[in-house]
């Protein structure tokens, strides 16, 4: 490997595509370009060519391209996936549409269920039945299968999903149907539930399999075009995709199992936070990623991020609590556990009929955007409040391209908010800032105190265009003392891609009372998953010495309807290891729920899991980071900023990140290319070797 080796992270968002290129010596080149909505790959291909040209990096020096994308989730949200057919067991044609009955809102006569991704006339049944132990109750009739497949082909489906009742115990019938599809339409994309998700629970399995089929043609086409585009600019490096679970997979695997890259977008930032926090010896952090419309949080504990076992695509933002579910499309694949609230810079500030100031969830978005952008926005927003408060540069949007109309923003805020509430303008704007904080606190509680974790024991890791501006207020409200603001916080999701490992997740249902389960059965089941992982990682180009295999088990007390995932011991299972696994479950149950049952309550194994990880042959994180070009902004030396009714207006130094090397005490405003960081009075801030701003609250 030569010294001139660069790795590229490319993250596509709704408005911007962010690109970062990191040299082995820690030099970081960044670029933000508008997303190209009609053909997302163009922004990546052209943006990267531009970034390389500016940095003078020839194509052969790019080692790999790591990519996070919302292509798959957009296809679902906008209902632009492939025309999909579904084949299921007679009597169960409507599993996909009935879902689990639950709706996400109370007292709402206007509620509409998300429309099923496969309409009823493309959901066809075959008269077959496998029992819950894998025995055949009613065999499959090949003639009927052929009739059903032909009917779907006649309807012009572009892809077929197959999900039969109890296929998690026996894939025989599904395989026979797959063979029939292959025979009748060899080119047609297809997937069967026993391969996509061999787990119990017909609704989750059907929904996951259907989503996979629905986005498969789109994702495959996109990845093909992206790969061709990159190659046309001379790149020969492998293309790897970020998965919802925080690991990378090759473009080839992603095209086959796109269900794993649906929530690819927000994962990068969490992975980056985990990597940087590890360098700082901060094992316990809460990430806080705030952009223009939403804020997302996640928990990293002992250096590991937390994963949820399932989630809903397009479930919308959390409305107060995550107890209410049913808004989106159910996916049973592991994903980094994120809580999201509808609060961002574009969130609209309004007064409700009861006379209360409220923030969001409506957002002015990027267009028309806040009033002060002067692009036609008429509703006061959180960003307008931040300009009034002096936190944001009143002359131009950081980055310099967009001149701001601060007066206009202030006038609208005065007329719509401060006037009706009979408050001074600054006081009202400060109130909006505080209320936005109190809304976002709910997302942090969702990942911490709602799971028995005390946020005060964690550091806050803030990024996104607005994260650094609100971090101090968030931390103070939650009693947190330490804040980390990474370099290029506004592009941090793409930066984080650089620190992910190649990772494959496997699972299988094995529903047994754990203590009665023969060890041989466990060895055999895990052995099969391990063989699958080894073969996949070998395909990815990893040597046997570069593999890490980690087992997990989903379990509950018999009679419970939810599961907890705990790490399972390695090696051959015996009675002692089974007892150890049962004990680990008891401990996790106590930690999460505050109590555990006695030995009279048997633990039931539901699913076994395996994570296969390819370890890189060299450290991904250089010993220090530096931006290739410090942002070309000449900050004003100081301006007045408002810090609440007690502190009032204070003369506040406006500095660049480099000015923090010796450590400084707030109030300070750190202005950069892609974000503004607020250091309140009394707090101290300094820059470390990795370019992070470390803030300590008094």
């Amino acid at each position: 490997m030569t010294v001139e080796h660069f790795r590229v992270g490319a993250d596509i968002g709704g408005t911007f595509t962010d690109l970062v290129m990191l040299g082995q010596d820690g030099t970081l080149h960044v670029r933000k370009v508008p997303s190209t909505v009609d053909n997302y790959e163009a922004a990546v291909v052209d943006g990267l060519a531009g970034l390389r040209a500016a940095a003078g990096v020839p194509s052969e020096q790019v080692g790999e391209v790591l990519h996070g994308t919302t292509v798959a989730s957009n296809a679902i949200l906008e209902h632009k996936g492939a025309r999909t057919g579904l084949i299921t067991t007679r009597g169960f044609r409507d599993v996909l549409e009935i879902r689990n009955l639950r709706m996400p809102r109370l007292y709402d006569l206007h509620w509409e269920k998300p429309s099923p991704l496969v309409p009823r006339y493309l959901r066809l049944a075959v008269d077959e039945r496998i029992d819950h132990q894998g025995g055949v109750d009613k065999p499959l009739d090949p003639d009927e299968v052929e009739r059903v497949v032909r009917r779907l082909l006649d309807e012009g489906v572009e892809t077929i999903a197959v999900c039969l009742i109890n296929a998690y115990v026996s894939a025989d019938h599904e395989r026979q149907i797959e063979a029939a599809i292959e025979r009748l339409a060899p080119e047609l994309p297809r997937c069967i539930s026993s391969e996509v998700l061999p787990e119990i629970n017909e609704y989750q399995r059907t929904s996951t399999t259907v989503i996979n089929a629905y986005v498969m043609p789109i994702v495959a086409g996109y990845l093909r075009r992206l790969d061709q585009g990159l190659r046309a600019t001379g790149l020969t490096s492998p293309l790897l995709l970020m998965q919802s679970n925080g690991g990378l997979i090759s473009a080839e695997v992603a095209a086959r199992k796109p269900v794993n890259i649906i929530e690819s977008g927000p994962a990068g930032g969490v992975v980056g936070a985990q990597a940087l926090a590890g360098k700082l010896d901060l094992p316990d952090i809460i990430t806080f990623d705030m952009g223009g419309t939403t804020a997302k949080t996640s928990l990293i504990e002992g250096g590991q991020f937390t994963r949820s076992l399932d989630y809903q695509v397009g479930g919308g933002i959390m409305v107060g609590s995550r107890l209410l579910t049913g808004a989106g499309y159910q996916l049973k694949v592991p994903a980094i556990d994120l809580a999201e609230v509808g609060a961002g810079g574009g969130s609209i500030v309004w007064i409700d009929p009861g006379g209360s100031m409220r923030i969001g969830p409506h957002s002015a978005g990027a267009r028309p955007g806040p009033v002060c952008y002067g692009m036609g926005g008429e509703e006061p927003t959180v960003t307008d409040a931040n300009v009034i408060l002096g936190y944001l540069n009143p002359d131009y949007l950081v980055g310099g391209e967009l001149p701001l109309q601060a007066d206009r923003g202030a006038r609208v805020f005065q007329d719509r908010i401060a006037g009706p509430l009979d408050l001074e303008l600054a006081r009202a704007a400060h109130g909006a800032h505080q209320i936005a904080i109190s809304n976002m606190i709910r997302a942090i509680r969702a990942v911490s105190s709602e799971r028995g974790r005390d946020p005060r024991e964690y550091a806050l890791f803030a990024f996104g265009g607005n994260g650094p501006l609100f971090a101090a207020g968030m931390a103070r409200a939650l009693g947190m003392r330490r804040i980390v603001v990474p370099p290029s916080p506004g592009l941090f999701s793409s930066f984080g891609l650089l620190y992910a490992d190649v990772e494959h997740h496997y699972s299988r249902s094995l529903k047994r009372i754990l203590r009665d389960c023969p060890p041989a059965l466990l060895n055999e089941a895990w052995g099969a998953l391990e063989a699958e992982a080894r073969s996949q990682l070998a395909n990815d180009g990893f040597q046997p010495g570069q593999l890490e295999l980690r087992r997990g088990a989903n379990m509950h007390y018999k009679g419970q309807i939810f599961e907890l995932s705990v790490p399972a011991p390695d090696g051959d299972f015996d009675a002692a290891k089974i007892a150890e696994l049962e004990e680990r479950f008891g401990q996790e149950h106590e930690r999460t729920y505050g109590h555990r049952a006695g030995p009279e309550e048997p633990v039931e194994l539901v699913n076994i899991e395996l994570i296969g990880r390819g370890l890189p042959d060299r450290p991904l994180m250089p010993e220090q980071l530096k931006l290739a070009t410090e942002a070309a902004i000449a900050p004003a030396a100081a301006r007045r900023a408002y810090f609440g009714p007690e502190a009032g207006w204070l003369e506040t130094a406006v500095v660049g990140r480099a000015d923090l090397d010796g450590g400084r005490t707030g109030p300070l405003i750190v202005e950069e290319y892609d974000a503004t960081c607020l250091v309140p009075p009394g707090a101290t801030a300094r820059r470390d070797d990795f370019g992070n701003i470390l803030i300590e609250l008094p």
């Binding site: 007679r90 009597g91 169960f92 044609r93 409507d94 599993v95 009935i98 879902r99 689990n100 009955l101 639950r102 709706m103 109370l106 007292y107 709402d108 006569l109 206007h110 509620w111 509409e112 269920k113 309409p119 009823r120 006339y121 039945r129 029992d131 009742i165 998690y168 119990i200 629970n201 609704y203 989750q204 609590s321 107890l323 209410l324 009929p353 009861g354 006379g355 209360s356 100031m357 409220r358 408050l423 400060h430 109130g431 209320i435 109190s438 809304n439 606190i441 709910r442 105190s449 709602e450 799971r451 028995g452 009679g559 309807i561 999460t592 729920y593 505050g594 109590h595 009279e600 309550e601």
Partner: protein
């Protein structure tokens, strides 16, 4: 807004106090052992002021709206004077502030500087409280004394010390003490969470401001509610609906009658005219009637009005004592859910008279309960309980939802595959049934069926269903939904069964339940032919029914609407229609009374 309040500080306080109520709810969800609580969210949490006036209710089951104030009022009245820090109260007696016996309340007074300033309140549906049948939810009990353990308002903790006498008494009177005790502990844990976080609130704002802002949160909700109610038309709007029977007196229909009076910025809901209380266990406490009345009204008011005392100041609910809406001793009430669901439909009927374009036709009538219990080959008992619901009536702007929980009990269904690993049965069908939804310009939701094949030697099957004789009504020209149905061995003898039944079943027997279809809204002849075509293509409406009910002629060869034939057919059908569409329809326009049964 009161003079002393700062609008910013007030908004932050309001967020904080509702966050506490929500975090109490999450604590229960997190620490409960029971699937009923977690999956059906059959619990509620709240904070109230020192007098027991509810300030903030957490995320809640609509059926619990208003339950906490009624129960807390009794506790404050009885123990107010002698209450002290570290006390906690427990109760479940429906004749002393409670709801029905499985719903156990736990309250904790919260103190600052030695003064009581608030209450933390929780209510949870427990999996068993003793009585005649496992689960304590039999619909065929005829007195409260058969239904389980009655707990009047009592101190469960005094000065931080647990009353072990009471604790043991509860323990020995329930079938699954491990679970019940774990769920009681979940309620205690939620109160402790409230105590800690409320303490922080007092530290931040001081006692005086906390009192002031709690009052203001109630006033704020009242202002919002009054402003919204003032927008509704004034007048008196009545509605009548019938429950088939109580399962005891099987030929006696049970009348529900409600009058909604609206004047200016206040409302009254009056259940006078409803049936006297019945023998079967479907009688309501007044608090349960209040819950369903207010929940229905809430769904025509704008969202984001906080649930608290302020709402109840605006909406008064009355019902004569001794009626099914306000039972007296010794009324049985374990299965009152049925009546609650139907009161919801009845309320929506009255509101539809007030607001024709804002409320939909009747739902399937709420949960059907199916339980199958017996002993396996090793004489080990098993019991399987399933609740089915999922169909809404057509709405003035859209079809009724299908495969969606009833608004008054937002429950989740169990996985068929999980049921098959745990119970001696197979589910053979769980899908929509065509031609059962009430036709309309916006049709009712299609009901689903569930077929249960029983695999053990012998068991007792109990079914509680309704909406057989009295179908889900249609509105403003919409037709009613088809009735619910029960059958034995549908692919063999196909023997029809009663709506409420207890019978023995044997290995291989298949029991089928079909929900009632949702009622339709508006004349089916006004339905967009493209929507009818989609329903035919999706096999939810047959081509014959499309022609007969909707007057739409579909060409199934190329999936198109034959427009000329449709126009002719619609003209022909329209000639027989009355000039004014029926506001409420219990039968198809041409059908006789008998045909409906």
């Amino acid at each position: 807004m009161a003079d002393l309040t700062d609008p910013i500080e007030f908004e932050l306080f309001k967020n904080a106090i509702f966050a506490i109520a929500d975090e109490m709810a999450v604590t229960i969800c997190r620490t409960t052992y029971s699937g009923v609580l977690r999956d059906n969210m059959d619990f509620s949490t709240a904070l109230a002021d020192a007098d027991g006036k509810m300030v903030a209710q957490g995320l809640t089951l609509p059926g619990h709206l208003g339950s906490i104030p009624a129960a807390l009022a009794v506790v404050v009245e009885r123990f107010g004077a002698e209450m002290g820090p570290g006390d906690m109260y427990i109760m479940n007696d429906p004749f002393d502030g409670g709801m029905h016996l499985p719903d156990i309340f736990i309250f904790q007074p919260l103190y600052a500087d030695g003064e009581r300033i608030a209450f933390a309140a929780t209510i949870c549906h427990h999996a068993d409280v003793g009585g005649r049948v496992p689960g304590s939810n039999a619909s065929d009990s005829t007195e409260i004394y058969q239904e389980g353990l009655r707990i009047p308002p009592l101190k469960l903790f005094e000065g931080g010390r647990r009353n072990d006498t009471l604790w043991s008494l509860i323990e020995v009177n329930v079938r699954i003490p491990v679970q019940v005790k774990a769920d009681l502990r979940a309620q205690l844990a939620a109160c402790h969470v409230a105590e800690g976080q409320f303490g922080e609130l007092v530290e931040r704002y001081g006692v005086d401001k906390v009192r002031l802002y709690m009052r203001e949160v109630i006033d704020y909700a009242e202002r919002l509610t009054r402003a919204a109610v003032a927008e509704l038309p004034d007048g008196e709007f009545s509605f009548e609906d019938w429950i088939d029977d109580d399962g005891i007196d099987v030929d006696r229909p049970i009348r529900l009658f409600v009058t909604v009076r609206k004047q200016g910025d206040s409302m009254e809901v009056d259940w006078t005219g409803s049936s006297p209380q019945v023998k079967g266990a479907i009688n309501n406490t007044l608090s349960f009637t209040v819950a369903h009345s207010v929940a229905a009204i809430r769904s025509v008011l704008p969202p984001n009005i906080p649930n608290n005392e302020g709402v109840f100041r605006v909406i008064k609910v009355i019902a004569p004592p001794g009626s099914i809406a306000n039972m007296v001793l010794p009324g049985a009430c374990a299965a009152r859910g049925l009546t609650g669901f139907r009161m919801g439909d009845c309320m929506f009927g009255a509101l539809a008279m007030m607001l024709p374009d804002r409320v939909g036709a009747a739902s399937d009538g709420g949960n059907t309960g199916v339980s199958i219990g017996g002993y396996d080959a090793e004489r080990k008992p098993y019991i399987y309980v399933d609740f089915a619901c999922g169909t809404w009536g057509g709405r003035p702007w859209a079809d009724g939802l299908q495969g969606n929980a009833n608004m008054f009990a937002n429950m989740a269904s169990q996985s068929v595959e999980v049921i098959e690993t745990e119970q001696p049965m197979q589910i053979l069908s769980y899908e929509f049934v065509p031609d059962r939804a009430g036709p309309g310009r916006y049709r009712g939701g299609a009901p689903y069926r569930r077929d249960y094949r029983f695999l053990e030697k012998e068991a007792v099957l109990q079914v509680r269903s309704d909406r057989r004789k009295f179908r889900p009504y249609g509105l403003y020209g919409g037709w009613p939904g088809k009735p619910s149905a029960n059958a034995m061995n549908p692919e063999g003898e196909n023997r029809p069964l009663a709506s409420k039944l207890t019978m023995t079943i044997r290995q291989g027997d298949v029991f089928r339940h079909e929900l009632a279809g949702g009622g339709g809204w508006g004349d089916p002849l006004d339905r967009d032919p493209a929507a009818v075509l989609a329903d035919v293509r999706n096999e939810l409406v047959s081509p014959g029914a499309a022609a007969d009910d909707y007057g739409v002629i579909v060409d199934t060869a190329d999936w198109s609407v034959n427009e000329a034939a449709t126009a002719a057919r619609r003209a022909e059908l329209r000639a027989d229609r009355p000039a004014e569409p029926l506001k409420v329809a219990w039968h198809e326009p041409s059908a006789s009374e008998q045909a409906a049964d």
